[in-house]
Symmetry: C2
Subunit: 207 residues, 2 copies
Amino acid sequence: MERTIDLNKKNYICIERFAMVKAMHKKSLEKAIAEKKADLQIISLCRFVSKTKNFFTSSSCAGRIILLQLPKGENKRDACFHRKWHRIVKEKELWDGIDAETKGELWFKLDPFIFHVGANSLENAKKVLTAMTKAGVKRGGIIVAKPGKFLIELQGSQGIAFPVKKEKKVLVEKGYMRYILERANEKLEKNYTLLKRLEKEFKKELK
Amino acid sequence: MERTIDLNKKNYICIERFAMVKAMHKKSLEKAIAEKKADLQIISLCRFVSKTKNFFTSSSCAGRIILLQLPKGENKRDACFHRKWHRIVKEKELWDGIDAETKGELWFKLDPFIFHVGANSLENAKKVLTAMTKAGVKRGGIIVAKPGKFLIELQGSQGIAFPVKKEKKVLVEKGYMRYILERANEKLEKNYTLLKRLEKEFKKELK
């Protein structure tokens, strides 16, 4: 009997904790949208998840094209965004970025979307994995598994990454970068399409 | 009472199933090693996991430098390895690969390690996530969660990816590729070091 009470108490604490975390993330999301800090392509997906009973979203990025500065060696902690676009990029914008003053190594990157979903149980976390597979998203898994808090990370797989500049020296040619930018823009569009498919599957699987 | 018997039976089936899957993967691993098909840098880690009671390894790759051919569009199903090295690569080898006949788009890629571990319970799967975090591996999660079978995917995060050739036209210069290859070789070494750290943490966390 005592054990039952203990379990009920533990269960109650988990439910309370989940509700609190969910409410907190909902608030952060609405704040980010109001301040125009949320990526446009992912707002609808985040809002849907936010309205379900058993799930929440925390950090997310819809996918982007970036110029990343690595000042010393390749320690990612020192890395900083020199330019960041969550949309199709024009050649002139890219070269304005490359030609501006930078230090160390400058990388051109197409990063796919990354999306975190919280669930209140393992069973519900598994529904996220099912939706992911059905949408054709290949990378993702449960990264935190605690009573009442399961966190799933999902990621797209479109990616480009290479250095374009070392100190003041540009390493790449205009013609080559024109080709790459066209490919990167295409891949970014594909990435946003995949995100839409994920939203569709979420709407079927998650309640 | 009946329910207890049912649960015991279910539990027994799970244990049996796990033992079977584990034995099968152990056999595949030893076969791959005997046929020299296993990546040298990951054998010791795989063998350790294989000898534990509660874990097994399935597919894995230690990390590699590749030339990947995408014949039509960017459908990865049509992609094929034009060259593949699980070690430091020399400039001459790289250019032999680039200059050889290829179709469609040819990509230069540094892929980090990817490693799958099976566990017999959620508690044990969580030990893999703990070891991963302690080793400094940032990407990984539980991708399958079934009674008696939990599968965790771990991945390194060093990566380079960009097209170097389109049909017969080489898009990159010798000097640039010399720079890139040096960086890729450095990153591959870092990737192997991370794998060693992961093995050390596995030895502490997994029994």
